[in-house]
């Protein structure tokens, strides 16, 4: 290959890569739908707490959540069909949306009581779970195991009121610190 040809090829590569640096497609309707679902859940909870609605109305929360989940699945499938190019950035963005929604739904269903008493500890476990599972999404098995341990600790703590703090502590120790230790030892 001649240097002039190499220059041409490199210019071509630079041009294509520069053309691919498009912004993130935010998918605004995800925010719209989940914002409304969140507002409906919060408003419903307030009405039940104020005794303006009986506790039997709480089943509506399941309907709201189900709507948000079904909408997200249908929309994500449509998005995939209509898109002819999925950038790495866009893929990561959608991953983080699914991860956050999925973990929050599990935390809400499996940890409905824990946040009223152990909110500060439980929130840390929740964010640690998101981080660990995000790492796990990229093929890190220790991250997946750590995230699952954290998630399980959150749900277990919900049902073990007397030792909820210890259960959450165990989750952080084995799921998060343990994951960090493994990452350090593997020089990741």
């Amino acid at each position: 290959m001649q240097p002039t040809e190499a220059r041409e090829h490199l210019d071509l590569v630079e041009r294509i890569i520069a053309g691919n640096e498009r912004g993130l497609c935010v998918v605004g309707d995800f925010f719209l739908v989940w914002g409304i679902v969140g507002a409906l859940l919060d408003g419903l909870a307030q009405l039940v707490v104020d005794a303006r609605l009986g506790p039997q109305w709480l089943w509506l929360a399941v309907v709201f959540l189900a709507f948000g989940i079904v909408y997200s699945i249908v929309r994500a499938r449509a998005l995939r069909r209509r898109t002819d190019r999925m950038s790495v950035l866009q893929h990561e963005y959608l991953n983080i949306i699914w991860l956050s929604i999925g973990i929050t739904v599990v935390a809400q269903i499996g940890g409905y009581a824990i946040f009223s008493q152990w909110a500060s500890a439980a929130l840390w476990t929740l964010s640690a779970t998101i981080v660990s599972l995000y790492v796990g999404l990229h093929g890190n098995r220790a991250g997946v195991i750590g995230g699952v341990i954290l998630m399980v600790s959150l749900v277990c703590a919900n049902f073990m009121h007397d030792v909820a703090g210890f259960v959450l502590a165990a989750g952080m120790l084995f799921g998060y610190a343990g994951f960090g230790l493994i990452a350090m030892l593997s020089r990741d």
Binding site: M1, P3, A6, R7, E8, H9, L10, L12, V13, I16, I17, G19, N20, E21, R81, D84, R85, M86, S87, V88, L89, Q90, H91
Partner: protein
């Protein structure tokens, strides 16, 4: 240098796939500015060489081919670009 990447079209295909999770055939043709028939032949070579993974699917009952650059293709591309840069650097020095 990698003989397979000496082709401008194949190099353009790899560059298009570089920052993407996956790209449909039509989008690659657009980016590389080649006809479908021409692109098909080049993509087949890249798939056969193990540089690019191919996934065939249906969208609204129409077939669609998706392509992604794998680790082997990425390494080959990086090495090839480095060698071209080295060639240019040699020319500047001489």
């Amino acid at each position: 240098m990698d003989d397979l990447l000496l082709s401008k079209v194949r190099l353009a295909v790899i560059a298009e796939l570089l920052g993407a999770q996956w790209v449909a055939f039509s989008a690659i043709a657009r980016a590389a500015q080649v006809t479908s028939g021409n692109l098909g032949a080049h993509l087949a070579k890249l798939v056969d060489a193990g540089y690019v993974d191919e996934e065939k699917t249906f969208v609204d009952r129409r077939p669609q081919s998706l392509y992604r650059l794998n680790a082997r293709g990425r390494d080959a591309f990086v090495s090839h670009v480095r060698e071209m840069q080295a060639l240019l650097a040699e020319k500047v020095e001489s």
